[in-house]
């Protein structure tokens, strides 16, 4: 271990942020933010425009100095040990950072050479990454001619050249088509499986839901919620089974049976033939089905829905806007 690297109780916290604030003039871009990310996990940072996501990423990747507070990445202070931090991170900023006058391949070779790779080694690494990001066909074309999605992929490839321990992705899939998004998600999953730690900002809730082990929601520079996707969903309310029946009478009978089994069904506001049954988990779908059977009711439709992160997000932003 080198100087300045501490091995304390948070051995596995690769990103540690404590009381971090950043002001630009009178704007508080970040206000007393604290969080930590465990080794090999993905933190999803959610927030609207101007929430402070990019500011946090920039501080953690040593591009910006915090106004107050502390942040450590891979065990090194982002202010005092910037060089050590930069040795271990990869950054894919919000806007693609490639040299447009160079080909995709030359961009990657440039980065590898700057990191210390020899010529042949750099070329091999470049080809390997081009292959992974399906840019081999366009490898020798100037980056200026790339589409937005290709440029984004090249940018991500560039941040992986040095095999970073910690990866910062600032809205990595903005502007990508659904197929490219999926592809990028898989790359991120793969990296995490190989031991990388990822902090990812996004405005897409499904993206955080899909990729992140834990989620932090920022609004106006402050953390308004954090937890796993499950925990956040728990806050937004219960899971529901909605069952559609054929007659009003069947609705009444089924309601009765369900009450007896300890559930609390309520007719849907819009359709009187639909019963909404809040449940604890998906195993209670069976209870609902058995209840209709017992009531001798014919099922016309059955659906089970988890609350989406959107529900959570809307609720949180509503309450923070009121505050």
């Amino acid at each position: 271990m080198k100087d300045g690297r501490t091995k304390d109780k948070h051995v596995d916290a690769v990103i540690e942020v404590a009381g971090l604030s950043k002001t630009f003039g009178s704007v508080a871009a970040l206000d007393d933010v604290s969080l930590s990310v465990q080794k090999g996990s993905v933190l999803g940072l959610l927030g609207h425009n101007g929430a402070g996501k990019t500011t946090l990423v920039n501080i953690l990747s040593t591009l910006l100095r915090p106004s107050r507070g502390r942040a450590r990445v891979a065990g090194f202070d982002v202010v005092g040990d910037g060089v050590e931090v930069r040795r271990r991170i990869g950054l894919t900023g919000q806007y693609a950072a490639v040299d447009e006058t160079l080909s995709g391949r030359d961009n990657l070779i440039l980065i590898a050479r700057l990191l210390g790779a020899g010529r042949a080694e750099a070329a091999a690494r470049a080809d390997e990454l081009l292959e992974i990001f399906q840019l081999s066909d366009a490898a020798r074309r100037r980056a200026k001619t790339y589409s937005g999605g290709m440029r984004r992929r090249l940018d991500l490839a560039a941040s992986l050249v040095g095999r970073p321990d910690v990866l910062f992705l600032d809205e990595p899939t903005t502007g990508l088509d659904p197929v490219a998004r999926r592809g990028l998600w898989q790359v991120v999953e793969r990296l995490v499986k190989d031991g990388a730690t990822v902090l990812l900002t996004t405005q897409y809730l499904d993206e955080a839901d899909y990729l992140a082990d834990s989620i932090t929601v920022l609004a106006k520079g402050r953390i308004v919620a954090s937890g796993t996707a499950e925990e956040l969903k728990g806050r937004a309310g219960s899971r529901n089974v909605s069952v559609t029946l054929r007659t009003d009478e069947a609705v009444l009978r089924t309601t009765e049976v369900l009450r007896r089994s300890g559930l609390d069904p309520a007719p849907d506001d819009e359709d009187g033939l639909v019963l909404i049954v809040p449940v604890h988990d998906s195993t209670e779908i069976a209870t609902v089905v058995r209840a209709t059977d017992e009531a001798g009711a014919d099922i016309a439709g059955l659906a089970y829905a988890e609350p989406t992160l959107d529900d959570v997000y809307m609720a949180l932003n509503h309450s923070s806007a009121v505050r």
Binding site: N58, L63, R87, D106, L110, L160, Q186, K193, D194, G195
Partner: protein, 282 residues
């Protein structure tokens, strides 16, 4: 997350082989950084579409100026026995250094805004390498353009300085030194202003003042009083006078060393400023 990882895990090649099989790169020294980064900027030389405008523009300007101002060589203030092209071309070389320097600054602001500089700043390399690399590349590119101007001058316009080949080489050295030092001035300004649209007008005005309030196109003696005073202290006039003397064959060590020294002093002051404000800006 868990289900997803399982599904993605099957059958795809590993992106990164962790452990000793794929060691992290060991980082590069400052000299390597500078050579890689200047090599990056010099790659435009491979692309004729990027090189030609830079070469053609001064030649075009030379054509215009040599025709428009030809009559100056008939005035009394003009040194006798000197052709106008021999008078004009050394000055032209020196003035092209201003636009070359400005180009450095503008290119830097552009890259600061398009993100590539942010990428470099998030990497374990010295911030100064980025600027030094650009400085070297841009000075070399300016040298290529100036050489083209000299060759065109000799072949097309009959540039035939009394100082001969050595004199012309001296002119080139002065002009390149000036473009090197002005490049740092403009990079310092761009690291501070950070926006090309802010740098352009300031650079344009500076360019205009340095150029026209100098002895570049007419002898100082031919200018009105107040302008003459300014023109004779204008550092550009100094460099131009030196370049002219060299091409006329009036060569001594002092003629060459004085402007080079001034350029070195300018760099010694502006380079640290540029690197410092570049490091701070984000």
């Amino acid at each position: 997350m868990s289900t997803v990882t399982e599904q993605a895990a099957e059958g795809r090649p590993a992106i990164d082989e962790p452990g000793p099989a794929a060691p992290r790169y060991q980082g590069s020294g400052i000299l390597r950084q500078i050579s890689v980064l200047s090599g990056r900027s010099l790659r435009v030389l491979r692309d004729p579409a990027m090189v030609l405008p830079g070469v053609l523009e001064p030649i075009l300007m030379l054509t215009v100026f040599s025709q428009v101002f030809k009559s100056v060589s008939q005035t009394s203030a003009f040194p006798p026995g000197v052709s106008y092209i021999d008078f004009l071309l050394p000055a032209f070389l020196v003035t092209s250094a201003v636009s070359a320097g400005l180009k450095s600054g503008v290119a830097l602001t552009t890259e600061m805004n398009n993100g590539i500089i942010a990428r470099f700043r998030s990497m374990p390399i010295h911030t100064g390498s980025v600027l030094v690399g650009r400085s070297i590349a841009d000075t070399a590119l300016a040298g290529v353009n100036m050489l083209a101007l000299l060759v065109a001058g000799a072949l097309v316009f009959g540039f035939d300085p009394a100082g001969g080949f050595l004199g012309a080489a001296g002119c080139l050295a002065i002009a390149m030194a000036l473009s090197w030092s002005l490049g740092w001035v403009f990079m310092a300004m761009s690291a501070w202003l950070r926006r090309p649209e802010a740098l352009q007008p300031i650079g344009g005005i500076l360019n205009l003042v340095l150029l026209f309030a100098s002895n570049a196109f007419v002898p100082v003696e031919g200018l009105p009083g107040w302008l003459r005073t300014f023109a004779s202290v204008n550092p550009m006039s100094q460099a131009i006078t030196a370049a002219r003397d060299l091409s006329m064959g009036e060569v001594d060590a002092g003629t060459l060393l004085a402007p080079l020294g001034i350029c070195a002093v300018i760099v010694a002051i502006t380079a640290p400023l540029a690197i410092r404000s570049f490091r701070r800006s984000a």
